[in-house]
């Protein structure tokens, strides 16, 4: 058997998109059910009969037939049925993953629900995985998805790319959703769920690349987001060691994924070709400073502080302010009172707990007792074992 290990996951969005196209947007639920049913039949058929010549077409035909059966069961039907039953020379449907993504990122939904629905319906992640990524009980997440789909129905959301005038704002929402999914991937990795973290990042990358494949959505800010995602996730292999989070200063830079860094830098180069400067450009710029630096001491900290200043202008936030302060007090940060022993944690991680940052700053200022107290507070508030491991190491090193 030779199937890509993510074949089902990748087919999921295509099947759902193709079925929603033919059933109408109000049948997103049935489309998801039909995709799952097609996978179930594949699992029971292929092992006995061998892989079909075109597995994707096989899945589509089975999913479509299942949907037709279900609609026949329900009594309403007539108008949609012909579109489904009409035979086609090639049963492989067009790829409507992107249209489905825009539908799931409909402005009538909260950002939180957009993320969950996109990852479920388009990226093919399970409710258990999503619940783990967003730290909510599975039942809560399932309930949110039900409500989100009902809302799409109420507002008459359609499976289509937005009109040209609405496109920039709608694309912005899709990119925000991808960024949040990427951040959730980071958190999953910090929490010890490395497989889940990698899956989330893979899906963000795949959907970002799908945006670049279409002329309407191939815009510089998409390149900027991909640059940010690739440059940031290239550090994944070095971020966890023996179950503990490894801060940037202690990471083995040789373990960073070079191919990913290069791909990220290539996207960053192409992100410049446009009039818009998004926060993704600036965040990617910060990531690039780290990617290009041979060590923490040889990092272009003044430039990083400058990029944070620009970010704060675009979108002020307490986390950014905190990260900027950490960057400012790094070995080569501009006006440090004590630059001797500062070891910043990853300044771009939005999860850097406040107490840990305080500890780093106190240490940088030569206040070991204050640093110890702050580490201990961080230890009490840590949400995962790798985090706790990292704080214990820092305490031991004091």
């Amino acid at each position: 058997m030779s199937l890509d290990p993510r074949f089902f996951r990748h087919q999921h969005g295509r099947l759902v998109g193709a079925l929603v196209r033919r059933l109408g947007a109000r049948h997103l639920d049935l489309a998801e059910e039909a995709a799952s049913e097609a996978f179930a039949r594949a699992a029971r058929t292929w092992p006995l009969q061998g892989l079909p010549e075109r597995p994707a077409s096989w899945l589509y035909v089975v999913a479509r037939n299942y949907a037709v059966d279900q609609l026949r069961r329900a009594a309403w039907l007539q108008e949609r049925l012909p579109a489904l039953v009409a035979p086609a020379a090639d049963p492989t449907p067009a790829d409507e993953t992107l249209e489905l993504t825009f539908m799931c990122c409909h402005p009538a939904l909260s950002r939180r629900d957009q993320v969950a629905l996109t990852l479920k319906a388009v990226a093919g992640l399970g409710t258990a995985q999503l619940a783990a990524a967003f730290l909510v009980p599975e039942a809560t997440l399932a309930q949110r998805l039900v409500r989100a789909k009902r809302r799409l129905l109420e507002v008459g959301a359609e499976l289509s790319l937005p009109d040209p005038e609405a496109l920039p704002a709608r694309l912005g929402a899709v990119l925000d959703v991808l960024y949040l999914a990427y951040t959730a991937g980071h958190q999953a990795q910090d929490g010890g769920a490395e497989g889940l973290g990698a899956s989330l990042v893979d899906e963000v990358r795949r959907l970002g690349e799908a945006l670049l494949d279409r002329t309407e959505t191939a815009r510089p800010e998409v390149h900027a987001l991909l640059a940010l995602v690739l440059l940031g996730s290239a550090r994944f292999p070095a971020r966890i060691r023996e179950g503990a989070f490894v801060p940037l200063a202690a990471q083995d830079r040789g373990a960073w994924d070079r191919a990913r860094l290069d791909a990220g830098l290539a996207h960053l180069a192409r992100a410049d070709r446009g009039p818009t400067l998004s926060s993704f450009h600036l965040l990617a710029g910060i990531e690039a400073c780290h990617a290009l630096a041979p060590s923490v001491a040889d990092t272009d900290w003044p430039r990083i502080v400058g990029l944070y200043d620009d970010l704060l202008q675009l979108a002020p936030s307490p986390v950014l302010r905190l990260n900027r302060v950490v960057a400012l007090h790094s070995p080569a940060g501009t006006p440090p009172r004590s630059r001797a022993s500062s070891r910043p944690s990853s300044p771009t991680s939005p999860t850097t707990p406040l107490h840990a940052a305080q500890a780093e700053l106190r240490l940088a200022a030569g206040d070991a007792a204050g640093a110890r107290a702050a580490w201990e507070r961080a230890l009490t508030h840590a949400g995962s074992d790798p985090e706790r491991g990292a704080y214990r190491q820092r305490l031991a090193a004091l």
């Binding site: 058997m1 199937l3 290990p5 993510r6 074949f7 089902f8 996951r9 087919q11 999921h12 059910e33 995709a35 799952s36 049913e37 996978f39 179930a40 039949r41 594949a42 699992a43 029971r44 058929t45 292929w46 092992p47 006995l48 299942y66 059966d69 069961r73 093919g124 992640l125 399970g126 409710t127 258990a128 995985q129 899956s199």
Partner: protein
Amino acid sequence: MAEFMILMRENDGAWGKLSPDQQQALLEGYFAWVEGLKRDGVLRGGKPLGAGGRLLRAVDGEVTDGPFVETKEVLTGFFLIEAADLEAATEIARGCPALFHGESVELRPVGHLA
């Protein structure tokens, strides 16, 4: 040698709660299991069962083909295997991947009941 049927029943939509990744892992489980059965020469056949269908019932002497089968437990497919006895067949059925995605497996001897 006797023939046995492995009947698989899904409970309460368990398969649909899995992610596509998990579903694909189970597909690979089925491939490996069926491969093993073929290698051991004990597989006689098998088929998946569709979800639709119809339930025929006689009510007061009259046969009705009542709407569709609508139960919490649905038959999803079967395998026919060959084994020396029920114990040996049970050993084979234990490996059936259906057991690992929330289905129950029923093992029944086929024919020759004497």
